[in-house]
Symmetry: C2
Subunit: 219 residues, 2 copies
Amino acid sequence: MHKYKNISDPVIRRLPRYYRFLGELLDKGVTRVSSRQLSDKMGFTASQIRQDLNCFGGFGQQGYGYSVESLYQEIGHILGLDHSYKAILIGAGNLGKAVATHMSFEKRGFRLIGIFDNDPAKIGTSIRDITVTDLDDLEKFCESNTADAAIFCVPKTATPRIAERLHKLGIKNYWNFSHYDLSIDYDDIIVENVHLNDSLMILCYRISDANDNPDEELQ
Amino acid sequence: MHKYKNISDPVIRRLPRYYRFLGELLDKGVTRVSSRQLSDKMGFTASQIRQDLNCFGGFGQQGYGYSVESLYQEIGHILGLDHSYKAILIGAGNLGKAVATHMSFEKRGFRLIGIFDNDPAKIGTSIRDITVTDLDDLEKFCESNTADAAIFCVPKTATPRIAERLHKLGIKNYWNFSHYDLSIDYDDIIVENVHLNDSLMILCYRISDANDNPDEELQ
DNA sequence: TAGATTGTTAATCGATTAACAATC
DNA sequence: TAGATTGTTAATCGATTAACAATC
């Protein structure tokens, strides 16, 4: 498949956004689009859009722009969405359940093949047609199933020990909802973090910074 | 309270991480820490840490370092966590329910005062001691309650119309889990996005980029 | 005091924007 | 062909890192 080298993080993080906007154009039946039009719609500069896309290839045509359909396909391919990586979910609490039921894994290059928890009340129940398995049976499960990635929806304290087990089993790609920094312990892993607490605090900062009046200092 | 000017986005996004690590040191009973020690622990350079902190003030002491406790307090204050912004949740589906039950709003500067949905099956039920209210009654609710922020846990298609209503009610701070770009429609709002789909696609890209062998191209 | 570590300025590095020749 | 818009190079801007004087 592909192997792109030295693509910077900001570029990679913009790809899903391109994909989303192109998908919308596609739904609307738009067939062609210029970097200028995308710029107006998305809020990036036209220059940046062309620069970004050219990291992966010349998908446009001078004087014409880009074909919405083929650019959409290309970016999907660049993102690797045509894969079907097998993922297991660790933690079937509120958050884990929401992630399992809410996400369209198949459209994002993944397939959910297992859910684990250590709570007896949860073990045996079904989420999305997948039976919640005892976390103790993780190793047994992995003997007959090869997971490519793990999703962490467990409390911070439980995370490092589970990570150690997964790492030992050769599972080194993580989607991490836990408030623990996995990248501290290992350097041969791929982690994408969703730190909800951090995100909420950032919102808090921005509200405070916008609202707070310097005069209040006097009170 | 505070009003910091021209603080760049990368700096703001690192603040919660500092807060988290300092909290851990505090729990361990560590009383002092140098930028060098923090650097080893967190993976930022010592230089960057000092640079970041000095955007807000000189919290350290030459030859000594930083007091863990007071730096923790300072960053909490900078983030505005001592506020109690009133937030309403829009959407009581799996994701909304998970967000409502999973987050410690009080520790992050917020208080959840209302939950709304348009599904009759959900209206009247309780989440976290808050009764789910009919979305149609949003305006009525806001006559007697002043919300500072709204949390979007509704499908993409429903988002723009609800945003319009909230904006009209003067609620302009959003924590957005919807796959819709609110910042496109308004420029007087504050939005913090949690785009789970984007996050999962970024993980997919990284896995693909690391695993794919150029030789596969031949097959 | 001597050693350590900050606060801050200066140097480097990388990412974004501007410009324009190539070309459809 | 003329007009439009790309791909790509060069210029600018901003963020990170290095260095070091100030000082606890």
